[in-house]
Amino acid sequence: MSGLNDRVLGLGLLVLAVAYGWVAQQWPEPFGGSHGMGPETFPTILSVILIIGSLYLMVKPDQDTPWPWGKTALELLFSVIVLVIYALLLEPLGFVISTTLTVGALSWRMGAAPRSAFLTGLISAVVVYGLFNYGLSLSLPAGLLEFN
């Protein structure tokens, strides 16, 4: 079926819009009553607009854009995982080590030779760390490289 993308998107947005609107109706009336507009008024309007929009998408979907499958999808997943791990390890490992690994891994997967990829990572990490910690006196986490 053509237009499957938009139909699925429309369905997802419809669920979101209804949930968003329903949550808004649960809030207690603010103290002193609402003069024309309570906390739920604006979200309710938005919810209605999004419901209309999502229904439209399901009825009149655009042509599908192709999705990446197979290897490319794995590469994408890999990149996202690398970024999450970067956020996870930034403080424990410190900026320089985690950045070298992240920039290196990403460059490598984007097609650079491993050696130059990780070298780029190391250089950019050291430069940015030096710039921030000494030039601008903003501290990035030193992590394992910290000496007290």
Binding site: G38, P39, L46, L76, A87, L90, L106, A125
Partner: protein, 508 residues
Amino acid sequence: METLGFLIDGFAVALTPYNLMYALFGAFVGTLIGCLPGLGPANGVAILIPLAFTLGLPPETSMILLTSVYAGAMYGGRISSILLNIPGDEPAMMTCLDGYPMAQKGRAADALAISAIASFSGGLIGTIGLIMLAPVLAKFALTFGPAEYFALFVLAFATLGGITGKNPMKTVIAAALGIMISTVGIDISTGTQRYTFGVLELYEGIDFILAIVGLFAISELLFFVESRLGSGHKKVNVGKLTLSFKELISTIPSQLRGGVLGFIAGVLPGAGASLGSFISYTLEKRAVGKKGNFGSGDIRGVVAPEAGNNGAASGALVPMLTLGVPGSGTTAVLLAMLISLNITPGPLMFTQNADIVWGVIAALLIGNVLLLLLNVPMIGVFVRLLSIPPMFLLPIVTMVAFVGIYSISNSTFDLYFMVAFGVAGYFLRKLEIPLVPIILGLLLGPEMEKNLGHALILSDGDWSTLWSSPLALGLWVVAGLGLALPVIVGPLLRRRMKSAMTENPVSD
């Protein structure tokens, strides 16, 4: 002559060595952002916002820095258009048509030089237009009440898709999503917790800066990973400058026409720089007539669109500064900077923050001069940097985005959020949901709700107040047209733009 006095004050702000240094830095970085593939102007400015923050720059310096980057990006876009036939950013698309053929004829240096000069005159004309028009519009906007503002915000969203926009319903959906995200957090007027689900980090709402950086920077990285464009381009030889003075003089009419048309296109809601350069190019072609050899390296075909897109860039600042409603992605990001500096954009800014507004305008004039100086003699540097492969560049840009977001709050929670926004941005772009309305929704959502609330309090809960004044009604009508026109005129215009591109096939 009041304006002149303000402008002189503005120069006093912009010409301090400290601000001048940041203007120069911004102009350089901006040109770089414009010419490097994979780093659009909106994306580039967004990444710099957290850095401007953590550096603790004063508001006028931050704005001068970002405005210079913005102006610089418009200059930079032409470099890869001319040398590689790949527009560095969208408005530079039309420059490919005659710029690349010129480069192939061995006149790359001339094309780069003349386009820098055209960019300068376009930027200058646009900035002069901005100086004349902005105070008038700001004064007019002072008569707006909350109902008019609410209608104006709706208009901004309705026209954001642009006349060439594809599916206006997707713009509406994107705007609704953006505004919905902005409602997360504690409601300002009643103190109700909305959509926080008890998560402490959500009480203050979702920081739009991390949303913007995530949506733009991270999704861009993912797009490059998908399309495997990592390897970059061969180094290009620019050759010698052979541009004669006579030739330069002969292009002056094209520069003036392009700049003025571009400025007008920039001011109009929903048109923007891309349309500015398109209109300038097509009208130039018509004005010159059969005497020109457009499409095969006519110098005026380089001059007109470049003057056009730089004129439009300054023009697009008019609605952003005077009304607080940006008309393009990059000006939306500039607005984000203003809001996070605690400056309320809109007409009052011209009286309450006159030093910032006029400092920025003066910086735009100075920035154009700096850019011309940077772009003519130093073109070789940019050309060399153009050959940096994205496979090294994009991971580093992503890292800088992480550093910026991390240094705002020193919390890794924000980083996860940013990655989540990036993944969402990737999917939305795949589904052709435009990102700019989402960002505008994030920025304008709270203001919209506030104005709606004020309007309803003033009218004692009567909703018809929203369209009772003629001005408000007019704004609603234009907003309606903004949504309806793309459906009617859009396909026609898009076909024309496409046929203009294929009519002049660039021979390899």
